[in-house]
Every structure is written in C-alpha cells, then in structure tokens.
C-alpha cells in the first residue's frame, strides 16, 4: 500500500515522468542518485573565520556541548558567545600569532560578534528542539556525544567549518521518527525517560516492558509544525 501512494504521488508531480520502459527509469534514478552524491560532497560554506572543528572536537576531543552549550537547554544549540573562545585562547601562547586567532581577537577588541553563516537552516515553519533530542539520546539513553550530534550533523570532528552532509529534509527527519525502538525492559532505564513517557511506570504496567513492545518518535504534524 505504501508504495502505491508513492507511485501515485510521483506521477502527479511529474518529477519522474520519464517516458519509456523500466530500464530507462532505472538509469534516470541512478544518474539522479549520482548527482545527489556529488551535490552533497564538499558543500562547504565560507565563514569569516575558518573554525577548525577537527582540532577542537577531533584532536582535543572537546565535548560538542562545551561550546554549543544551549543544545541541552533550548531550541537552538547556539553559536558560542565570543567570550567562550577568548576564555581559553587568552591563555594559549602557542597559537597566539596564528592568523585565525589574530582575527578572533580583532573581533573581541571591537566587542563585535563574528557573523557566521548558518549552515543547517531550517525554515521558520519548522520547530526543531535541540533540547528534546539531546535530552533523549545523550542524557537518557547515554549515547556518546559525537554519535548523537553526528547523526544529523555528520562527522564534525573531521571538518574545519561545519558542512551540511545530511539532507535534513522532512522526509529524512521522519525516517528516523518512524524507526521502532523497543521499550526498555528495565524500570531503571525508564526513569530518565519520564519526559517521553510521562505517565508510564513499568512497575505498574509490566506488559509495556517486553521486547515486543516498541514505540517511535512523534508522528503528529503539530509536533514539528507548531
């Protein structure tokens, strides 16, 4: 049934109205896929200072949330305030004369924020809450930070400036929301997830704690389109 719907859609939109047989359509699909791959490779946005995530998150292993503090508290993860960069760099003699650091301190002298370009810019009609996702995957499920952030933002610790490597389209977000997770069988695991299952107490409803019981992310339109 699902595929039926997709088929109907495509026809109406005319996007893949390629005349000819199935072989031709396969070729078109493969070429499109190739274009997609090329399109996403090296999609590097030019920034006022080419901030090296590979040195900070990669070589030095700084937790993403050391700088992007607000990810656990707010809708946005936040470009760190200039103060945060200066906090460390005012004491790091070894890189004091590097050109990027000099440029950083120029901004600090002028008390002016660095005008970074936004790389993952969702449209205004989408409500994405970093807090909700970080609380769920990092604090409650205890996944490593680079895996949690990296799921959407890619392998940032190998990049200098941030690059958009995932499509972050609606369909892509929904593909994760539709993944069925088994409910935790251990009541202790559920405690941290009260924010997701506020009324569930596995001790009261042991049937919920079986391997067969699964749930997935929000499927309501209004959760993201508030």
């Amino acid at each position: 049934m699902k595929t039926r719907i997709f088929g109907g859609h495509a026809d109406r939109m005319g996007l893949v109205q390629v005349p000819g047989g199935w072989l031709l359509r396969l070729l078109v699909a493969m070429i499109l896929g190739l274009v997609v791959g090329l399109a996403f490779a090296g999609d590097k946005v030019e920034q006022p200072i080419e901030f090296p995530h590979d040195i900070h998150a990669g070589k030095m292993g700084i937790n993403c949330m050391y700088c992007h503090t607000y990810a656990r508290r707010s809708r946005v993860s936040g470009i760190p305030p200039l103060r945060k960069c200066i906090n460390c760099h005012q004491n790091i003699e070894s890189v004091k004369d590097k050109p990027r650091i000099k440029k950083l301190f120029e901004y600090w002298e002028k008390q002016e924020a660095i005008p970074f370009k936004k790389v993952h810019d969702l449209p205004d009609f989408v409500r994405f809450s970093h807090e909700r996702h970080i609380q769920r995957f990092y604090f409650e499920l205890g996944r490593p930070v680079q895996e949690v952030c990296g799921y959407c933002h890619g392998n940032v610790s190998s990049m200098t400036v941030d690059e958009k490597v995932e499509p972050i389209t609606m369909g892509w977000c929904i593909s994760c929301h539709q993944k069925d997770h088994p409910n935790p069988t251990n009541p202790a695991d559920l405690v941290g997830m009260k924010s997701v299952y506020p009324r569930m107490n596995i001790a009261d409803a042991p049937a919920q704690g079986t391997a067969a019981n699964t749930s997935h992310g929000p499927n309501d339109c209004w959760q993201c389109h508030k």
């Binding site: 595929t3 039926r4 997709f6 088929g7 859609h9 495509a10 026809d11 996007l15 893949v16 390629v18 199935w22 359509r25 396969l26 078109v28 699909a29 499109l32 896929g33 274009v35 997609v36 399109a39 996403f40 999609d43 946005v45 030019e46 607000y70 508290r73 707010s74 809708r75 946005v76 936040g78 470009i79 760190p80 305030p81 200039l82 103060r83 600090w108 008390q111 002016e112 924020a113 660095i114 005008p115 970074f116 370009k117 936004k118 790389v119 993952h120 810019d121 969702l122 449209p123 009609f125 958009k164 499509p167 972050i168 389209t169 369909g171």
Partner: protein, 744 residues
Amino acid sequence: MKNNQRRDFLKVLGWSGASATVGACGYTSIDSGVETVKSYVNPEDFNIPGVAVYYASTCQQCDAFCGIVGRVRDGRVLKLEGNVESGLSGGKLCGLGQAGVQHHYNPDRLRKPMLRKDGSLQEVSWNDAMLALHKRSAATKDGRFAFLTGPVSGHFKVLVGNATESFGAGSQHYVYDPLATRINRAAAEQVLGSDVPRLALDQASLIVSFGADFLDTWVSPVHFAGQYARFRKASDSRPRGTLVQIEPRMTLTGANADRWVPIRPGTEGVLALGLANALLAGKLPAGGAVPPALATAATAFDKARVLAETGIKEEAFDRVVQLLRERTPSLVLSGPSAEGHAHGYSNAQAILALNWVLGNVGKTIFPPAKLPFPQIAPDSGDTASLGKLTDAMASGKVDAVFVHDLNPVFTAPSFVKFREAFAKVGFKAVFAQYLDETAREADLVLPLDSAMEGWGTHVAAYQPQGVEMTVQQPLMERLYPDTRGAGDILVELLKLRRPADYKTFGDYYAYLRAALGANRTAFSNVPADEEQFWTEALSHGVLHVNTAETKVAAKPGAVELDFAGASQAVDARFPYALAPVVRASLRDGRHANLPWMQETPDALTTIVWDSWAEVHPKTAEKLGIKDGDELEIASANGSCKVQAYIFPGIHPDVIGIPVGQGHETLGRYADGRGVNTFRLLDPVFDRKTGELALYSTRVGVKPTGSRRVLVKDEGWKSGNVKTQSGRKLVVTLSADKAKLSEEV
C-alpha cells in the same frame, strides 16, 4: 504482480532520489550559507538563545497604567501579558495593551531628531538637537514658557514640574487629556468625598450605569472587567448581579447589560432625580442617607415629568426603581455621555448622590488610599487646559512651548483654533514617536523611545487597593540609536538649568534609582539593602506605598444642582445630537497607526479600518438613508462626509460617529482613513468645571448621493438580527413582545 512490484520499487527510488536532488538544487525551504547567525559577545548567564525571559513593566496605552510583563527572547520583546502582581491588571491585559508592541516595532517611528531650517524640518544629529533645545530655552524669558503633557504621575511628573519651574514664575505646566473624566471627578469629590473613589463592582447585586463604559473605555477597564466577572457569578451570599445601562448610544458595557435604556441625551440628571424622588417616597435601604438639597431638588421631578423629558418608557422607569429598592447593595455610576453637557456636573452629582440614598457608600464605594507624596500623585488632566494654553499662545504670552506625547493639532476641535495659536509661539519643541499633525508644526522634533525601551514610574489615578506604583523598565535595547526617553531629555535639560539639584545624575535611570532608593522605606515589604531593593522592584514591577487607613465619609456632601438652560430650543439646521464615540482600540486617535487596532472589528458595529455614522433605523427611514449611503454631517463648527451604518443601539435623535480616525500624517496605517470627529465639536462647556461638553454638539444630516461599501465582519446586512441566512443563529424577540419585567 512482479512487474507492478518492480515498477513501484523504481518509483520509490526515483522519488527519494528526486527529493535529494531537488534539495541540492535549492528547491526546498532548507537553506545553507544564506542567513547570518550572530552569537552574543559576552552575555549574562541567564541569556539562553531560544529561551524566553519575562520582564515586568507598565503599559502606556491608556491611563489605567496596568502592570505588564513582556516576553523577551534573544533580546527582542515578543508579547505582552498582564503582571499578576499588579492589582490593576490582575495578570490580564486588554487588546489595546497587547498592541503596545506595535508602537515599538512600528515602521513609521521617528528615528532621528528634526530641526526646522529654512522653513522645513530636516534630520539632525542628537547633539545638534540638544544644542538647539538648550540655546532656545536659555533665550526664553522667565515666565513665558509652557509645557503641555498628557496625564502624568510618578517621577516624570516631578521632572516636568521642575523643568517648568526653571523657566521662572508664570511658566505653566498644562495637563491635557481629550478624553478627561474631570467632570466625573469633580462631582465625585463633591458628593462622595473623593475624586476617584475605589469601587467594588463584585460586591454589588445591581449596577446602574449612566453611560459609564467600564468594560471597554472607562477609567480602568481591565480591572473592572475582572470585578464584573465576579459580579456576574452567583454565590450563596449574593444573587447573580444585574446590570442596567442608561445611555444615548450603546457601548460595549451596554451590550452586556440585562437592561439597556436609551435616553434623550442630556436628561440623565432628570432621570436620576426622578429615581431619587421615587426612592425617597418609600423606605430607604439600610444605611441610606439623603444628601442635603437632594430631597428638595427631587420633589420637582415627578414620574410624569421624567418620562416626558427623558423619553424613556414607563415600564422601564418602574422596573429600575423596583430593582434599586430590592437589590442592595448596588452601585450607580456616571459616565461621559451624562457628563458631556453644560449641566454635566449637575447630572453627575444627581447620579452619584443616588449611592448615598441607597446606602452604597461603604459597601460598594470606598474612599481611595491617600498617597503621602503629592509630588508624584497622578494628575489626570482635563480639556479646559487646552483652551487656557491656546488663549495664552494666541495672546502672545508664550515664547517657548514643549509638547510631550500629545497631538493637540489633531484632537483640538476646530473652534479652538489651536494650530493658529501654536504657530505664534517662537520656539515649539515636540517630543513624539511619530511625525504626527502636531510634530509637523514644530521647530524641533525629538524622537522618543517607545514604552518598551524606557524607564519610568507610574501611579494610576484609579487604585484598586492601597497605592501601587508600577515600575517601567526597558524590555529590550533601543531599536534605533537616536531615540531618547523623555525623562533623559529632561534630566539633561535640568542639569543645565538647575545644576545644583541635577548635576549628580548621569541620566533618568540614575535619577530614578537614586530617588526610589532614597525613599525605599516608604514602600511595604521591601528589602533594606538598596541593591536588593532595586532588583526586587524591577523583577516584581510593582511597589506598594505605605498608606494610612482612610475612613468612609460619614455624611454625604451637598449637591449643587444647576439645570438652567438644559432644555433649550433646538436649532432647526442641526436637529440631531452628535455622540462622539470613544473606541477602546483607538482612544483619542493616538493608536490609529497600529494595524492590529485598525483590524480589530468595532465591538458594536464590527466595522474595520474606517469611520461611520450610526443612524437609528427609524431615523434612517425618515431620511431615506440606507446602509453605506454617504452622509454629510455638519455642525455649526465643522463638517465631514462619512458613510451611514444603520444601528438600533442608538437613540433616534442621536448620530454616533467614532473618534480617532481622520489622521492626515500619523503613519501609513492611519493616514487618509475616516474622519476626525473632534473637529466638529461645538463650543459648549460645563458650567462648573469649564470642561468641553463632548456630548452637546448638534448636527444636521444630509445624504450626498454617493455610496461606499462598509467593510464589516457581520456580513452585508447590518443592524438587522432578523437576517440570519434563514437559520436561527441568535434567537430574538422584539422588545414590545417580550415581558422584560419577568426576564430581569
């Protein structure tokens, strides 16, 4: 099936592939590398991007001065709500209050000072503007200065007073409010012992309001609406409250009344004395007292005379008398439609005196708490000030005038000739947010901070309990670098003119903080430490002044009634009375450039973005007028062309035209829209107070032959509840068929 499956599979592949490609081509809404995102440089800990913080402040949209909180996110104020700590707003806020953000973000706000050079206003730097202000002020001779403001209170009033004094004896501060309730205050002072008594609508079983629109535009609507909700809730000790509204034109409060009694305009005092006559004939309710001279005056107003002069129906009169006798305690209120006559003061007294007769004083009417600091006590202003200032300017007694937050060129009736007198003054400085009609006439225009950007303290004239001083603080940084708070401008001026007192203050903030801190023992429940006191004052937004208990007046004040000339022969050229309708959304017209307020349908007519003339269906039939016909409405002092709206909620001899529209130069949402009703007003003044009698203008009505579409929310047929598209949406029964005495 196999074939179909393969086809479907490929379609899926193609579809997801296409969406990915489309993403890379830029055909989705997801951007990358387009918008700039700037971090903070060195923020406070609590400044979390994306998370809102609430700051307390004071609403400045009308003179109720409700306490508000503003929701601020990422350094921008987004929405206003009532401050629960404010006894006035009680945590609620009216639509006009909500629209305060539109004055802040308004695209037509003045961004730079302007100085008149070679006949035209030109933008100048703030430095040059202040130099001009100081130079011209220094050149002004003692006693030849005037400061015109709207209602003032708190520390700004102190600054205005000191600034005026610095120009020598004879210089005057004029407080003008086009919608002032001065007549009401004078009558209340005389009869009830205090000019703004504290009212308890929620303690009454019956409210009889003579045109006091307490739910929409009268005194403190947000507060009274809260009390009204409790008034309407029956309890074990009290039945559900009954509301009777008596007025020539239905207000929102009238629309909520159980009984709406249309009355011939100006005869409210006659009715009040007739009610007194009837009540005094029987046993007075417990606690009732008779104000001296009332009994004598009332004897002349027997029922027959009252019915003949007021035009109300006998059944209505009898029923109101019965309600007043049975439902105690009650509350009788006087409003602008009763007061806006040459004998308005007498009308108001006769109405308010009924509260003594009914024993309401001490049950639903109380004296207000006394503020021990008269220098910050509210001055609510009046309309007579405008006349006095105009006379002074016209006779060449004023060389420099400052105008703050007022638009008298717009609100002055034509007969006042304000604009001509204003032009005679050598130096005119106008402090304004917009280049409105008055600012355009100025020599120096100083652009003001919005209410969301400024500091201040305010003491509302109507206080619910004790005396509250609300604090106003900026809800965000200035939008434009070259606007200033009026307080800052005056502090700078005073540093030059009264250096001994003011040179220690850097700006208005410093002055406020010092003044409040030095007097913090005057407030209750505040920390002793100055820093803590200031932090708490700002976060709560309300300071409670320590006040002494005030005792209810033991005896009623005398009534001084003077109805001479009340019923005069009507000039045949102007057979109708004009009701200048005040709308909560526009008030005196200052909010006409707020699109939310223009878009909000009028509560009674549902008309938007325009003016209209309300005509009773019988009058319309007589004159052959249909909905939308353009009428020329002319008084002896002005005329306008406005389209007709057939409206049953008005006395047949009255034409109602809303005030506030008709701007020429306020901003893009206001200009060229509707008519300025203020222009038409006749020079009739209340005999006792000298106030402009707003409801005494007489007009003639003539269709011009044109028609215009009236844009309204209620559909294409107005004033006719029978037309409900064939469905019973609102079940109605005409008044002559309904047995009203059994209903209410």
